[in-house]
């Protein structure tokens, strides 16, 4: 267990280091949330009051967080394939799932910046108020959201072990999840058949937890669901990684980029 935690810690740290060393990655991470936030503010500022703008602003922050998780999940495996490090990481005695957790959590951590950037951007340019209803629960909801999104990233990354072109599919998931998770508009406005999908997504509960801790409400339920979903994603990730790794070794696709 301690060994797994050490692998997660160094995987997280080195993934952050890798991302910080690419000007392109840094620029994308800085500009994307600001762009999302601006679009959201321009869409809502006429019709909405201060509270609506804050609600939208937190949704926009999760758009950035989700984009970062999705990009990180797809990019981690693709980069390992193109660098030909995937085989080395998989053939190490530490289960590949453990090293994936560190890299996936790093992408979600970078996504946290989008939350801060969005709130500061909204405060400075659009006069969005920034008062926290439950500061302690807000501090709890953030790691819960990062954890659940990060582990959802693992489920997606695991499919890339076997299917080289799954990143294209993963990229397509960016915008539908914004809608399904109620980041721009309440889930209640969506057709009923979308609701089960919404409730299975980490961004839905992460955004709910953060919104309720900022705007008022009882965020503990959403925080609990975030943690529960994280456990479910971890279990799915475990099954996926085990099976996809074996299939990739059977089909000889690990070395292909």
């Amino acid at each position: 267990m301690l060994r797994a935690l050490r692998v997660i810690r160094i995987g997280w740290l080195l993934q952050l280091k890798t991302m910080a060393r690419s000007g392109f990655d840094v620029l994308t991470a800085i500009v994307t949330p600001i762009t999302y936030a601006s679009i959201a503010f321009f869409l809502y500022r006429r019709g909405g009051g201060a509270e609506t703008l804050l609600w939208v602003s937190l949704g926009a922050a999760f758009m950035g967080l989700w984009a970062s998780t999705l990009w990180g999940a797809g990019n981690t495996i693709q980069r390992q394939r193109s660098q030909q490090t995937l085989e080395f990481a998989i053939a190490a005695p530490t289960p590949f799932l453990v090293s994936l957790i560190g890299t996936s959590l790093a992408s979600s951590t970078v996504g946290l910046y989008s939350l801060v950037a969005t709130l500061v951007w909204g405060r400075l340019l659009f006069d969005v108020p920034l008062e926290l209803e439950h500061p302690i629960l807000f501090a709890l909801s953030l790691p819960a959201a990062v954890l659940s999104l990060g582990l959802l990233g693992i489920v997606m990354a695991a499919t890339l072990i076997l299917y080289r072109y799954a990143w294209a599919l993963a990229n397509m998931l960016e915008y539908p999840v914004w809608l399904a998770a109620g980041l721009l508009a309440p889930i209640a406005l969506l057709p009923g058949w979308v609701h089960p999908i919404s409730y299975a997504l980490a961004p839905t509960w992460g955004a709910k937890a953060v919104r309720e801790s900022v705007l008022g409400g009882s965020p503990l339920t959403a925080i609990g669901v975030c943690l529960g979903l994280a456990a479910v994603y971890l279990a799915i990730g475990f099954v996926f990684v085990q099976n996809f790794e074996r299939l990739a070794r059977e089909r000889a696709t690990l070395a292909l980029s």
């Binding site: 060994r3 280091k17 890798t18 690419s22 030909q84 005695p93 530490t94 074996r246 070794r249």
Partner: protein, 322 residues
């Protein structure tokens, strides 16, 4: 005790051709390979490109599941006990990929030290020791993307030895490395068996195999065509001789005519800038120089010489006959 065992290993790849009308193809990369390596032995696997060397090594290091046959490392099945095997083997692939480019050598080694479960207390000392061994001490904080091919190759070796594995697999570790760097790498490889490790080495360079390996298996078209000590393999062709003819612009039909001569065992042509070197292996007791030259009628001829066969000649004869 046999540390590495391959028993009738086979591996088939499935691939497709065509864009609209797709057709599935099966390619047999390894077709019943068997060999064993004793403790402390340096065993060489030689063969041309596409012979099945890397596929065989990848099955042994658990990266590919064999289509059939059995592979064991330290008595454990590489498919059933993959994790157990992974903890006890190190592997090094040739080429300049396989490293985290944006990270330093030190970070690469720290990461793999954790992946291989090297005790945190020992990590720093072990990494220092290996950096010293492969000659990267003082350069370890630089990013790998700025490393030369030789430096990357040395870093690969350090990475493969982090957990001090008793069995090491080296797949063309000196490929593309300059002569001085390659000589240093060969010295490092030789030191591995001196420290009691069992090594499986694949290489294209015959002199390297001759200098390093206790035993060699020659693989061609997915099957092992010969196995033995370098001396035993050389003995297979030592009863003949080799005629070398420098030619300028020789055509394939002339080479074919030489190949059809009675007593000719193998013919190869090596390009040497504007000229080519025709290497003809002949059966013992025959003087074929005149017959060979007569088949090259109309071709400009330079130096002609005759010599004793080398391990490379043995290899060429085996691979050509396969």
């Amino acid at each position: 005790m046999n540390v590495v065992e391959a028993v009738d290993l086979r591996r088939t790849y499935k691939t497709t051709t065509g864009t609209i009308r797709r057709r599935s193809l099966e390619v047999e990369a390894v077709r019943g390979v068997s060999f064993s390596i004793a403790e402390g032995e340096l065993f060489g696997l030689l063969g041309p490109n596409g012979a099945g060397k890397t596929t065989t090594i990848k099955m042994l290091i658990t990266l590919l599941i064999p289509t059939s046959g059995v592979a064991r490392v330290l008595g454990h099945d590489v498919v059933k006990d993959a994790r157990w095997v992974r903890e006890r083997i190190g592997y090094v692939f040739g080429g300049d990929r396989g490293l985290y480019e944006r990270l330093s050598a030190l970070d690469n080694l720290r990461y793999f030290a954790e992946l291989y479960g090297v005790e945190p207390k020992r990590q720093r000392a072990r990494i220092d020791e290996l950096l010293e061994l492969v000659g990267l001490k003082g350069r370890e904080k630089e990013r790998v993307e700025g490393y030369s091919r030789g430096m990357r190759q040395r870093l690969h070796i350090a990475r493969g030895l982090l957990h001090d594995p008793p069995v090491v697999f080296l797949d063309e570790p000196t490929i593309g490395v300059d002569p001085v760097g390659a000589r240093e790498l060969r010295a490092t490889i030789a030191s591995l068996t001196a420290s009691g490790k069992t090594v499986l080495l694949t290489t294209h360079y015959m002199f390297e195999a001759d200098a390093l390996c206790d035993r060699i298996a020659v693989i061609a078209n997915g099957v092992i065509v010969a196995q033995g000590t370098p001396q035993e393999l050389k003995a297979g062709v030592v009863d003949g001789s080799v005629v070398e003819v420098e030619v300028f612009g020789v055509e394939e039909r002339s080479v074919e005519r030489v190949r059809e001569l009675t007593g000719v065992r193998a013919v190869t042509v090596e390009d040497r800038e504007q000229k080519q070197l025709l290497i003809v292996q002949t059966a013992p007791g025959l003087e074929l120089t005149h017959a060979i030259l007569s088949q090259l009628d109309g071709v400009s001829i330079g130096r002609v010489s005759s010599r004793e066969p080398t391990l490379e000649d043995a290899y060429v004869a085996l691979v050509t006959a396969a």
